[in-house]
Amino acid sequence: MAGKLRIGVAVKHGVDVVLTRADKATGLIALAGAPRKTSDFDKNAVEEAVRLRDKHGGVVTAISVGGPNAKEALREAVAIGADEAVLVTHDGWADWDTRAVGRLLAAASRTLGGFDLLVLGEGSTDHFSGILGPRVAGELGVASVAYARKITLENDLLLVEKDLEREVEVVAAHLPAVVSVGQEINTPRLPTFLQNLKASKKEVRVLAPEALGVDAATLRPSVVAERVRVPEVPRKLTTLTGATPEELAQRLREALASEGVLP
């Protein structure tokens, strides 16, 4: 690695899963116009990028691929500690699919001069394809490690604890590399009022796909969501009451006995 460490971190301004409501009659969710927020895992990615910079020096550039409101996610990244913010968008933006986002992130990485380390969240809170990091690395032809729960950097050697379902792997790779992180890796800091205020004034560099050498016409969705519905799970919603905990417990015992679910 020549010169100072260049860290890129991808942030998504995704659909807010908690605030999104299904239509009561149809059970369908309209994603267009749904409330959005910074994807949970991406805050861990920004936090990790900032910690690595604080330890090893360098510059952290937050990149978001999305609509104009994604600036909010970028400002949150700046409030956490990112140095620069880049938004890749275009007029008439409609949700790009994972393929388009992957291609644009790879193109951004090339165009912005190449990152030594690109950090992403393991998946987004809304869509959770869980493949973006390896996808970008596959397109760039660089090393990738997913599911990172600990990252150590020794000069240009990256050591990562990789969290799999039944095992943990310790893997090593030389930079440049793409790492996607799980939520276990850190607890993202809550920016102070002043940090938020400062971040709100930060200029966001806005780039169109063409500025990255990508023809927007080739970003037509490869996968289109036809509909999104909430599976109906009918629940009884019965509140049990009792004058004492013992009485309450007795009510539950009776209810569960009639359900036939007691041992």
Binding site: D126, I131, R135
Partner: protein, 316 residues
Amino acid sequence: MSDERVLCLSEEAGIAESLVRLARSLPLGAQGRVEALVLAGAPPGAADRLAGAGADGVTTVSGAESGDPQVVAAAVASVVESLTPTLLLTGSTKRGRELAGRLAGRLDLAVVTGATSITLAADRLTVERETLSGNAIATERVERRPALVAMLPGFDAPRAAPAASVTRAEHPAPVVAALVEVRERRPKPGGEVDVEKAERIVTIGRGLKRKEDLVLIEALARALHAEVGCTRPLAAEAGWLSDDHWIGLTGHRVHPKLYLAVGVSGAVQHLVGMRAAKVVVAVNKDPKAPIFAQSDYALVGDLYQIVPALTKALGG
């Protein structure tokens, strides 16, 4: 209508077989084919089992013995070049998604992960998948081929008769330098409980104040012949319980007869893990806790008073 050539691969032998059966159940056309891949690390007899599951062709890749997904992706990509599949199927496991991503970046594929079912009709490929942290099901239309679909383990895979004749082939993997080196591999602690198979589960959330108070929950679980489950903060963050107790989107998905959530607020990522429970009981001191909207029986109150009473009342 053109014929489909489906290539099935997974690092998990059981999932690979299920993928073959799933592919066999799709209308692939008269000349349609189901191909299966045997990768390094597959158990002995894997090729025979994939043939038995209904594959028309089984290709055994030699080489590519690496923990670097890039090396495995290069091997699969070279098989894709020779078999020219229209559809690739893999498992939506962590390794499966990692390989899917590498392959997709390399071959510019359309990808759907977390898929629960596939429909193929008149060249139209539609996939149902979990979305919004597992709380909704999206129906997605695939507009680009070849496509890669990663199936969430547990998908329906009807049994099929073996093909009349099975082509067997060896495919030497291209030699590529690994960019990632595995230095150590250690199994995760735990393994003493299997919440996915439990009939009754008592799950504890952040309402528990101290690790020592777990004895209260364990006593209730014993009285109910139940396993102890927990939410993400207690496993991944506090480490009070091992990951095999963790129920939720990135933990385990459970389907017990009785699910008793104690001091669990009901974060969306947790709700997806317990959605399939038959009867849900929630104990929480906050009457507005989201868990109550997903419960059959709500008990509003202090868990430190209610749990001992429940242990007494529900035991025997």
